[in-house]
Symmetry: C2
Subunit: 193 residues, 2 copies
């Protein structure tokens, strides 16, 4: 059984992803985590904001693994891109359109209202962009091209999550996959040019 | 001077865009609108949820005009796409990264938590997709191709807003513009093929 702090982090990540940061109360978090209320301030003396920063970092960084899953042991960059978007569509349908990006809802909520949380989301996106850039270069892409492709992938994925969740339809994710596959082909052509 | 109902709608649209739906209180709204508290329930007997639905519809539908601005009197589809993303980047910088999509924050907040508001965001995205599809067909695109290009544009724009606001940097919007221009070129090649 996970420790109390881990359970609080996991329950918060799930609640933030589904209900947002503002829409999640501390009572909800301790109830979902099966933790006594006092334990929250024991582990997070800075309260909800400190918890928010730690959850954004932890759940955001965990998603770096997705680059490994879809692009390690993959020789075809375009195929890896297509598989990543197809996988996202399956997850979205299986979770009734709830489990998408772990930090996007919070990122939009706090962008203009809470600077420590905004910075935490920026650190996660920066880590994704740097990690994807390093992961795509071995496919034969110059660094600047690999960076643009990574940003294009994350842009399309984040936007398609907004539309697919609102519409309860994976069509936007399918279009995003096709567009990013096109961007990958263009990047490879540029890399070999 | 705008009527009280209009002022409440405008203040709400601004507050929802910057702080989200959950993060906006009714007191904040009437204060920003310079309206007596009672007027809110006079115009919106369904309270915050009814106000939310009306604001999502009104501010979302207003953005349909952006398709007119960038694509009416435009003979070059790719140029129109580039100009639209460049315009979004200017607006984002000028508003200190606050004014992006009028409904995205709310869309993510309510997708799994409030069905009437979720439906309102879905109606707006559906209207954008249908309007863009009709707007892009005259450039020589078959309907299915025009629809995919519209969804690709909205995906990329929404995702780039998430990243650009978090990073306080317009690089993701620039990449999104380049990717959508690439998608537009591919769509035109498909249309003439």
């Amino acid at each position: 059984m996970a420790g109390t702090k881990d359970r609080i982090m996991e329950a918060s990540a799930e609640l933030f992803r589904r209900n947002g940061y503002t829409g999640t109360g501390l009572k909800q978090i301790v109830t979902a985590a099966g933790a006594p209320f006092g334990s929250l301030y024991h582990f997070f003396p800075g309260g909800k904001e400190q918890l928010g920063v730690e959850v954004i970092h932890a759940s955001g960084m965990m998603y770096l693994q997705l680059f490994d899953i879809f692009f390690d042991n993959e020789t075809d960059l375009v195929h890896g891109v297509e598989a990543a978007f197809a996988g996202a569509a399956v997850t979205l349908r299986e979770t009734d359109y709830a489990d998408a990006c772990p930090i996007a809802t919070v990122a939009l909520e706090v962008a203009s209202t809470n600077e420590p949380l905004r910075k935490a989301t920026a650190e996660v996106f920066t880590a994704w962009i740097d990690y994807g850039t390093a992961k795509f270069q071995p496919f034969g892409l110059p660094e600047a091209t690999a960076r643009k492709l990574t940003i294009s992938l994350v842009n399309s994925l984040e936007g398609a999550f907004v539309l697919s969740r609102a519409l309860r339809d994976t069509e936007p994710l399918a279009v995003a996959g096709a567009t990013t596959a096109l961007a990958a082909k263009a990047a490879l052509a540029e890399g070999s040019g």
